[in-house]
């Protein structure tokens, strides 16, 4: 039957196909958010019930202790230290590189090569960074004869952070309108004054957002740490501990999830609770900050 009127016909095959496909895409979208909801709710439920003061202050007991697994203090402190080392290395190098790409390079062969390299480095599997640092630092004992150390772990993490810092700096600076640069150079400011006083502050928020997200991502990385920083059951007590094995939350989760003992598994859930909540908090905070910036009038 041919029907030539112009009204919407809900029985025509094209409209039925449309509704069918629309509901499938809705179903897919539901599937896509299901894992996040499930993972976060399990972590809140299983990890949240383990939270106590002891968790933050005690050392973890070695596996085999049936009654109490202790706390995660060394791992928590270790994660903070290792991530700080990684940031201290990756942020200056990455921002310097990003400044060169965005402000000095004129799109020549070198800059194209470096941008390509940044993308390739971002795609290098994280465990390869661990293997590289193992070969370069751990097995050669190049840092004062220490083998596995928190320092080596931090260096391995910094390799993973570097591409994201360069990218956000480069892209943040590229968004700064050229008039600002021209105005600054026009009144006689030198190039470095222009960059440090004018363009970097103008791009500060977008760069900061990207860098903070990069740090949050690095804090959860495990693969580069399992044979560079290894793991430690003992408190971090002084500066010299940097040169010895150091625990971290992510490696604690990995080690204790695979233990056959229930108390250890519970400690892994508690550590996930703290790790995931802080990472999600930083993420949401950074996104809100970024949203405020984009809604404000750009300079």
């Amino acid at each position: 039957m041919q029907n030539h009127n112009l009204f919407y016909q809900n029985k025509s095959s094209r409209n039925i196909t449309d509704i069918f496909l629309t509901s499938i895409s809705f179903l897919f979208a539901l599937f896509a958010i299901l894992p996040l909801i499930l993972v976060v709710s399990y972590i809140l439920f299983k990890g949240g019930s383990q939270i106590s003061l002891d968790l933050f202050t005690l050392e973890p007991n070695p596996p085999g202790d049936e009654f109490s697994a202790g706390g995660i203090n060394p791992a928590l402190v270790g994660t903070l230290i290792i991530t700080s080392i990684a940031s201290l290395i990756a942020i200056p190098i990455g921002m310097g590189g990003g400044i060169y790409l965005a402000e000095y390079s004129k799109g020549g062969l070198f800059a194209r090569f470096i941008r390509f390299g940044v993308n390739v480095l971002a795609g290098v599997p994280s465990i390869i960074a661990g293997v590289f640092i193992y070969a370069l630092i751990v097995s050669t004992k190049i840092i004062f004869g220490s083998t596995y150390s928190g320092l080596a772990g931090g260096i391995a993490l910094s390799i993973l952070m570097l591409p994201s810092v360069i990218k956000t700096t480069d892209e943040g600076l590229k968004l700064v309108p050229n008039e600002l640069r021209q105005a600054s150079l026009g009144i006689g400011a030198s190039m470095y004054t222009t960059i440090l006083r004018i363009t970097l502050p103008a791009a500060f928020r977008s760069i900061a957002t990207g860098v903070v997200l990069g740090i949050a991502r690095a804090a959860g990385e495990t693969a580069p740490l399992i044979f560079t920083a290894l793991f430690s059951y003992y408190y971090v007590s002084g500066f010299e501990d940097l040169f010895y094995e150091m625990g971290s939350l992510s490696v604690l989760i990995y080690n204790f999830a695979l233990e056959p003992y229930d108390v250890q598994n519970k400690l892994a859930w508690a550590a996930s609770f703290i790790l995931v909540l802080s990472i999600l908090f930083v993420n949401i905070f950074a996104r809100i900050l970024a949203n405020i910036t984009t809604k404000e009038k750009r300079i």
């Binding site: 894992p35 993972v39 293997v131 470095y192 598994n265």
Partner: protein, 316 residues
């Protein structure tokens, strides 16, 4: 006229300021070349460390799955097969899910606030560390799917992929957890490219009477295809290198099996498991395996970048 020119007589900068400027520029230059140095360093170090194993086993390493430190026999076939099979299967499951989600987010099916919430949820999923997903997979996903896998085996045991009795931890679980990790990558890149497709293409299609999904399939997806492909390839690279969640759930067995229901191995999980306590030729063999993994993921990544460069300007 002359009065004006005197203004510019002292236009030279002070020596110090000039020097600072030059130093600043060159420091930035050196810092930016660090990326190239690190990248080159990684390739060279892994290559030279694997040299011993390479000269001993040659290409045989790629095709045997013997891994015996006692007899000093090494072959990575099971791990290479596991890497390829888990990443390919997971990406094939992720493509429809991720692109479908991206279409849902970019079209106006639902109120904007709902679509934004779904979009940000998917992006937050990317922030969950892979080791936490592994923990979740061990204690929640594995018990949940146990009965389903038994059914799968009893129905489809004639297909080689489901031919073995399901074990607690197996390759199929690794594929499923990889899907969870790849979903945010594919979705967010697809969403960005779909948003970039010019409005007039859509309006033109509606104007000549195409239905909504006809427009999506014949106009919008083809226009966004290169970007989506690049995202898929990036996700594929990530899948091959993904370590923690896979190591925790794949079962880590070097015995080769076609079946996805038996424990498997990937190159990265092999590295994670053995690197700490290996010595001698085993270390070199692990570096050899790492080198293969690196070459695989480099190729995929470079190809993805090539796609982006080649096709992204078409519709700007």
């Amino acid at each position: 006229m002359e009065e004006k020119l005197t203004l510019f007589k002292n236009r030279k900068r002070f020596g110090i300021e000039k020097n600072i400027d030059i130093i600043f520029k060159n420091t930035a230059l050196v810092l930016s070349s660090f990326v190239a140095i690190i990248l080159l360093g990684i390739i060279l170090v892994v290559f030279f460390q694997s040299f011993e194993s390479f000269s001993k086993y040659g290409l045989k390493f790629l095709f045997t799955s013997e891994w015996n430190p006692v007899k000093d026999e090494y072959g990575a076939f099971a791990a290479i097969y596991g890497t390829v099979i888990t990443s390919l299967f997971s990406i094939f499951i992720t493509i429809p899910l991720g692109v479908g989600t991206a279409i849902f987010i970019t079209e106006d099916f639902a109120p904007k606030i709902i679509r934004e919430i779904i979009g940000s949820f998917v992006e937050l999923l990317a922030a969950i560390p892979s080791v936490v997903l592994g923990l979740w997979a061990i204690f929640v996903m594995e018990p949940f799917f146990r009965g389903f896998f038994a059914l799968l085996h009893s129905w489809f045991s004639w297909i080689p992929l489901f031919s073995s009795e399901p074990t607690g931890r197996n390759s199929l679980l690794a594929i499923l957890i990889l899907v969870v990790m790849l979903l945010p990558i594919v979705t967010s890149i697809s969403r960005d490219t779909l948003n970039q497709v010019p409005k007039k293409l859509r309006n033109a299609a509606y104007g000549i009477g195409a239905s909504r999904w006809k427009t999506i399939f014949s106009v919008i997806l083809p226009a966004a295809l290169s970007g989506i492909m690049a995202g898929v390839l990036l996700a594929l690279g990530r899948a091959m290198g993904e370590t923690m969640a896979v190591t925790m759930i794949i079962g880590n067995s070097n015995a080769f099996s076609w079946s996805l229901l038996s424990p498997g191995y990937t190159i990265s999980s092999m590295l994670a498991n053995q690197f700490g306590e290996a010595d001698g030729t085993q270390v070199s063999s692990l570096f050899y395996a790492a080198f293969i993994l690196m070459i695989l993921s480099l190729l995929v990544n470079i190809f993805a970048q090539f796609l982006v460069k080649r096709f992204s300007l078409k519709y700007r």
